[in-house]
Assembly symmetry: C2
Homo-oligomer: 947 residues x 2
């Protein structure tokens, strides 16, 4: 039996099938599959990759055997279509395309309308009744064939076309008439003759052989060879050639062409959706010259074709188990499907469709969970722009996408203005160089926040995410003149009150108002809308309910204040994975105490330490030695009296405030675990900026040293205090547990506040599960010492509150490499681990997130890094530290509870990784909780699939 080199498809069946990519290439296998699925794709045949290899081996020719198989396939095609290649009345036209196993740049792509010649072009004209169309098709075919197959420089053709257009005084191609095109064809044929010393081939079989050979030749062109070398693709794979018959929707009123979706891709509603044009080409639908009709009207004009289209697309939806986006052509009442693929859809539609498909019995719950991109849920949680308006709007600048959502509003430049304008019912957008804790009231009323400096962890970014407020930060192109109340960007000036829009998911800034749609889900969650009133909320809940049944990972939220905790709980978080206690310090009524504490901390703590040490020595000492010690003690007590009073006094003031904060969190979280991190940021973050003080001081000095002597002295004192706390690299400085170790009274105060709050809430009947987390531990001794303080306070408080049940844990963040490297040692002291992947990424890469802007984007654009490692965990590098932490931690303490509370906790691909390495939970910002729930379910399903 002879080898099969040519595989036919059409008339309801194909010689090949989808698993024959090696022989048929990707495209050929796909065409075979669609044909076998009963899809009316235009028929044709595939010449196999083996033929290509033979062609190369034979130095540029095929065996007679193959030529015969091709001829037979062509004859079959002609017979099936009832047309003949090159026929002067009703010609068969074909396309010729390459199709390797992998798609590959440098390969010949497509030749259309093959089969046209001086005779058949007249047949096409007659059949379509469109001479201009027929001639334009012919001149394009000559140009394409001339360039690709005959190797003639494009310039030659361009030159002739330009000349005819000039003569015809036509500005564009479409202004050329049939007569003009006849002249173009004549000139093109001359070009071919001049360049190849042969006439343009009129024999369609010669055209086909030439095109086919061109595909095979392109397999060995230098770009394709280089590409294969770079990507380790073997050279003997070969490419297939697909010859497929062309169909036309413009051959008369029994023809049409159109596009559609099986469901509404914007809303997900189960409606047949699309448009068509009768007696038209596909291009006409897209080009917008004629207005297409709604697809429902097709039923009236071509009921049979419409019925078949409905039947086929419904079948396709069942086959692909997803909404289909299809293109079709009806040629002489016969329906051909040109393309079908899973339809792109909005997040809203994705949820709607996935749930509907389950209810329609098309998908299982598990399959439905895999149909929705977790990230797409974001659209249900934040306002979104009206898509068409958004697409048209010019992007004036790009910042960092700090907090997703669409925001439009009048520009204001201060928090106070924001509040004033908002009070008058205006929607405002707060634009600042960078925000500070003092701006909170303005951020709260703004639609969105836009800053010129700062990174993804800047104040604006963190608070924006926390509030679920669209934010774009670090938009360096903005030139803000707060005095003049103007904003310069992209050569334009925006004044206060003028509207702009920001897209917090992309970082885009647009200098116009854009319509936004509100989020029903958010309205339900915030209590403004009854769940029963929102169909989409119900579907959303249903889908996430399935996710909850499926996932293994627990989901917690990062929340610092009761309001955020409430949102997180409503979104399905069952626990807080990170409460940053310092955010409570920033509240304005607390700042005076915080500042007082900080300024006194160094000497205050030193005094306390000295006194404690002297008292301990005194306890052992006798006689003269004791007397001397007593004297020394009195002196120290006197010397440090004021700083100790300031330090401990301020801590005492802060204690009840923190206690109230924690009590609020415990209440909102209804007995689920609440992880509270002890103070983390360097203390100077709470003080005025060093350079600001320096500038003030310089100004006062220049204005008169004597006149301003008192003010100068005061400023100098403050500057001195700030200087003492100044750090070159605050990220690597005196922060985290290093603070708690050198200033144990701060940890002590926080621990006391936590347990007093826990007791108070537990007494009222709400169970509490505090988990105290020590940040930035690199050495087990750090944890050991901080843990001792926490336990001391906890036991003291609990002893006093006899019998009130408070289970608590003390654990640590693993967020510097050394913590992960020595996780076995650290685990001995830890009751849980939580990975701080933000800092772990910063230290693992040696890369400050706030400073990386200058090169991280460059790195991504130039392919050095695939993804921003602060968005998606760098599994191959930083991920090793996480795995190491888990493995070593659990080796030392089997079953150790481990979570993650970095930004990555809400990133789907990172969640997949965290699932795989066996974490117990992920914690993310409240507005990402739904995303995390779905992603965790998908991770579980992916694991099941690979098991």
């Amino acid at each position: 039996m002879s080898t099969q080199y040519v595989y036919f498809f059409g008339g309801g069946k194909a010689d090949g099938h989808r698993d024959m990519k090696d022989t048929l290439g990707g495209k050929g296998a796909g065409l075979a599959e669609m044909t076998n699925a009963g899809l009316p794709v235009p028929p044709g045949f595939t010449i196999s990759t083996q033929a290509c290899n033979l062609y190369q081996e034979r130095g540029g020719s095929l065996t007679p055997e193959i030529e015969e198989q091709i001829a037979a396939a062509l004859a079959k095609l002609e017979s099936l279509m009832g047309k003949k290649l090159g026929d002067a009345h009703d010609p068969l036209l074909v396309s010729v395309r390459s199709g390797a196993k992998f798609s590959m740049p440098g390969m010949m792509d497509t030749i259309l309308n093959l089969g046209l010649n001086d005779a058949s072009v007249e047949g096409l004209k007659a059949k379509t009744g469109n001479g201009r169309f027929a001639k334009d098709s012919y001149r394009r075919f000559i140009q394409m064939f001339g360039n690709v197959v005959l190797g003639i420089d494009k310039d030659h053709f361009e030159h002739e076309l330009t000349a005819v257009k000039k003569k015809a005084k036509a500005a564009t191609d479409v202004e050329l008439t049939e007569a003009h095109l006849d002249e173009v064809i004549a000139r093109y044929k001359k070009v071919v003759k001049a360049q190849t010393h042969h006439d343009f081939p009129q024999d369609p079989r010669a055209q086909l052989a030439g095109a086919r050979n061109a595909v095979f030749e392109s397999w060995m062109n230098p770009r394709a060879i280089t590409y294969r070398k770079l990507n380790d693709i073997p050279h003997d794979l070969g490419t297939a050639v697909n010859v497929q018959c062309m169909v036309f929707g413009n051959m008369g009123d029994d023809c049409a062409t159109g596009v559609g979706f099986t469901r509404n891709p914007s809303t997900g509603a189960p409606e047949f959706y699309g448009e068509f044009l009768q007696n038209a080409q596909g291009e006409d639908v897209v080009a917008g010259i004629r207005t297409p009709h709604p697809i429902a009207d097709l039923e009236k004009v071509m009921p049979e074709a419409y019925r078949k289209l409905r039947e086929i697309t419904t079948r396709l939806e069942h086959h692909y188990k997803d909404i289909q986006d299809f293109e079709f052509t009806i040629q002489e009442n016969e329906l051909f499907m040109l393309q079908t693929r899973n339809g792109k859809r909005t997040g809203l539609a994705a949820v709607h469709i996935a749930v509907d498909l389950v209810e329609e019995g098309i998908l299982t719950k598990e399959e439905a969970l895999l149909k929705v991109e977790p990230q797409a849920l974001d659209q249900l949680l934040h306002p979104i722009f009206e898509p068409k308006a958004r697409a048209k709007a010019a992007v004036a600048a790009k910042g960092l996408p700090a907090s997703p959502g669409a925001a439009t509003g009048a520009v204001v430049f201060t928090a106070d203005e924001a509040v004033a304008w908002a009070a008058k019912g205006k929607k405002v957008l707060l634009v600042r160089m960078e925000t500070v804790p003092d701006d909170i009231h303005g951020m709260n009323v703004a639609q969105g926040i836009l800053t010129a400096t700062g990174g993804m962890t800047s104040h604006a970014a963190v608070v924006g995410r926390q509030m679920g407020k669209p934010s774009v930060v670090g938009c360096g192109a903005l030139q803000i003149d707060a005095k003049a109340r103007t904003l310069k960007v992209a050569g334009k000036v925006v004044k206060e009150g003028e509207a702009i829009s920001i897209d917090g998911a992309t970082g885009d800034v647009m200098l116009q108002a854009l319509p936004t749609s509100p989020s029903e889900v958010l309205q339900v969650v915030s209590g403004q809308l009854k769940p029963a009133k929102s169909a989409i909320y119900q579907k959303f809940e249903k889908l996430l309910g399935w996710a909850d049944e499926t996932r293994r990972l627990g989901i917690r939220a990062n929340a610092d204040i009761p309001r955020d905790a409430k949102v997180a709980y409503a979104f399905g978080a069952r626990g807080i994975g990170l409460c940053r206690t310092e955010h409570m310090f920033f509240e304005s009524e607390r700042m005076p105490h915080v500042v007082k504490m900080i300024l006194a901390a160094s000497r205050g703590q030193r005094g306390l330490d000295l006194i404690a040490r002297l008292k301990a020595r005194l306890a052992d000492a006798k006689g003269a030695q004791a007397a001397a010690l007593r004297k020394e003690l009195a002196a120290v007590q006197k010397e440090y009296k004021q700083p100790i009073a300031d330090y401990t006094g301020a801590l005492k003031k802060l204690l009840p405030m923190q206690r109230a904060d924690f009590a609020g969190l415990f209440k909102e979280m209804k007995g689920t675990p609440v992880t509270i991190r002890t103070l983390d940021p360097p203390l100077h973050e709470f003080l005025p900026k060093r350079e600001e003080l320096m500038v003030q001081l310089a100004t006062l000095r220049a204005l008169g040293e004597k006149k301003n002597a008192r003010k100068i002295a005061d400023l100098q004192k403050r500057l001195h205090a700030v200087e003492e706390l100044h750090e070159f690299n605050p990220m690597l400085g005196h922060r985290g547990c290093r603070l708690g170790i050198t200033y144990p009274e701060i940890t002590r105060m926080q621990a006391r506040a936590i347990f007093e709050a826990a007791v108070a809430v537990a007494k009222k009947g709400t169970p509490v599960k505090p988990e105290v987390m020590i940040p930035l531990v690199g050495h087990v001794e750090e944890l050991k010492r901080q843990k001792a303080i926490v336990i001391e306070e906890a036991e003291a408080v609990l002893a006093k509150a006899k019998g009130v049940p408070v289970e608590y844990l003390v654990g640590t963040m693993i967020e510097v490499p050394r913590g992960a490297l020595t996780a076995d040692e650290v685990a001995k002291e830890a009751q849980f681990f939580s990975f701080g992947t933000n800092d772990l990424t910063q230290t693992g890469f040696g890369l400050s997130r706030d400073d990386a802007g200058k090169f991280l984007l460059y790195y991504q654009e130039h392919g050095i890094l695939e993804k921003d490692p602060f968005v998606s965990l760098d599994a191959s590098g930083v991920g090793q530290l996480v795995e190491m932490g888990v493995t070593k931690g659990r080796a030392a303490k089997p079953g150790l509870k481990i979570g993650v509370c970095g930004e990555h906790g809400g990133d789907p691909s990172s969640i997949q990784f965290f699932h795989k390495v066996g974490l117990d939970y992920v914690s993310c910002s409240p507005y990402r909780v739904p995303i995390a729930r779905l992603a965790a379910a998908q991770a579980q399903l992916a694991q099941r699939a690979s098991d």
Copy 2:
């Protein structure tokens, strides 16, 4: 046969031996060993640990069998010494000491003079002719015994002693006469009676039983138990009891006591060294009441004892193979050795002695190498203070020990003053807030450098080490008033010109001139002294020669300029492991070009990139598209003309300068490898400080916006440029290869300079081995791209220089955790690795070296960290990253050349680690090269010993 519980030692032999620590405890085994070695130690006996266990089992008593063995041993002791316990004329006195296998806090330590009672104290008085001494010994015995054995609170005794002193109007104990002491004894006995209801035991055998039991009891006291629990020492180990006869050097003129060394511990000279007092106690020698005689004089007064002492100490030196520091007592013409141990010595002496001992046949070369602490060599390389003067000088403040050595000089506050004073022949010490590159000329002439701010990698520290100039940095206690030319510290004011001293090895600052001794070795190395003229240099060279024969690790130096390279080569470095090219940028005549380059870099590079991209597209384009591209290209060329000219122009100016630098290095290093790192620091380090510009601007503004409009505009422009480069965490910012990637022209210029220099030097006959090192690589793609540029330039230069032989390598620094974690991938592109352990420590711990001062010292003082991880590599944490880098790197590329060029490269304990993990070489600052050579040899010997 009955079990032996009591082991006698004395009279030239012992029952036990040194391997019986389980039975005799550490001390008992040592006494047995010394006795067996023929050492005349005071005789005695050891009661075994088994007896202790029996004592515990029996609830506090010994078996009659053991009691009999003790009695027999005591009888033997009395007979050997010719004295009897409790004898009223010539009493035998003993000490009782505990002695477990491991020394342990909480255990009873020592009871002296046991055997004294009302009768025997008179015998002691008679024999010593010193009633005061006898009575004082007795009252001390009662007090010690009362407290330790009878459990009486010390306070009771203190109280009585104070009362007698008050009565006698004696300020100190020594003012008490024999009569006073008689009263103290009487009162003490009353205390014992009152507290125990028994008289103080007069029976010496009862005293002995009591003391012995007290030792056994102390084995089970809570502190000892806790200690054993914490240290995993089994409780059934038990403790032994050592009973040893006391000897007295004050029993007449046939008695003496003294201390000595077998060689001079200061210089190492082979001379018998020490002092003694006739008819005196050991205390008298130490207390300085009587002036002791040189030990040589002993030969005259007690020739036989002297002869024996010489003979014994010589034997001891052979036995312990080291200089001995001994204490002896001669009692009635009989010599007793009380203690002998290896003598402490200066670095100078250590080298001298080690070499001498080899030449005397006492040590092998390998043993000699282990006798010298590598760190001690530092003393041979830097001036040192005269030890006695140094010990007496008050330390006014402490900074970071940035560069070792002793420096004394007149304080100056500016580099210019330093030069001016030095020109007049004054020795100056440069004191600055912090130094900047502009200060180099002043640093060069100063004896030492002292700064108030900055860490161990600050400019002053790095340059100080580089120059071998004693430096103390970051001395926060200094208040420098540069205007008033004063320095406030520790409440004192130092004016310009007043002398202070700094110790660069400890960080101590002393407010006085101190005598220093010069370093002969340094004089030889710098060519001021002929090697033949310096005996110590010859010994130093000999020792290091042996080290070179032994070590496996290669030793290179970190050197940036030819002068440093020359010193490094002279000290034995065979290669440069790190040349920081940026240090060349800081030279003052280069700074204008550097600044120009930096200010233009961003737009200049962007222009070049755009032009390159357009040209590439143009090469493919035709017709109208080509025309449009040509137009665009012209526009871009015009727009970026100036920045490109500034950027590339400055680079062109810098090229020949760098080329000359590199040529100098290649010449000095005589064909050994020279590793050159491409530009590393963030560019803003080369620009004025942001806050300084802000202050200048504020001042000008306050003085009149209009008047200063031009200056303000100019400053604003500069500030804007600086702001653009500002970073929150420069350590984690736009530096290292990130610079070279975003500004490839800089790497290109440096590579060209390296290879042009290499060719120039090679042409003149000096072989060259450049190794180009790409810093801060965290991802293999970074290295790949930078390497491509280097190779491109190298090949271009070498192609032009046909046939000139230049072997080169391109490799990378592993200095961020991700580099180590993915070392297998990085190794595929690297021809060598060099660990940058400074940055690896910073990122591994998440700890900025410059900011760690606030807590790192606290951490060490409080035992959280044992050692400063920037001085000694943190083997258990950061060391894992190094091991990982080696293992993964060599797994991917077997035999990969790997070194280290962080500060740890010169730290002996780190070198041991680097040896163990299999590095090929270490690289350190030139002045640490000898230390590294020795440490590397010791590491090799340690490995041999453990193999």
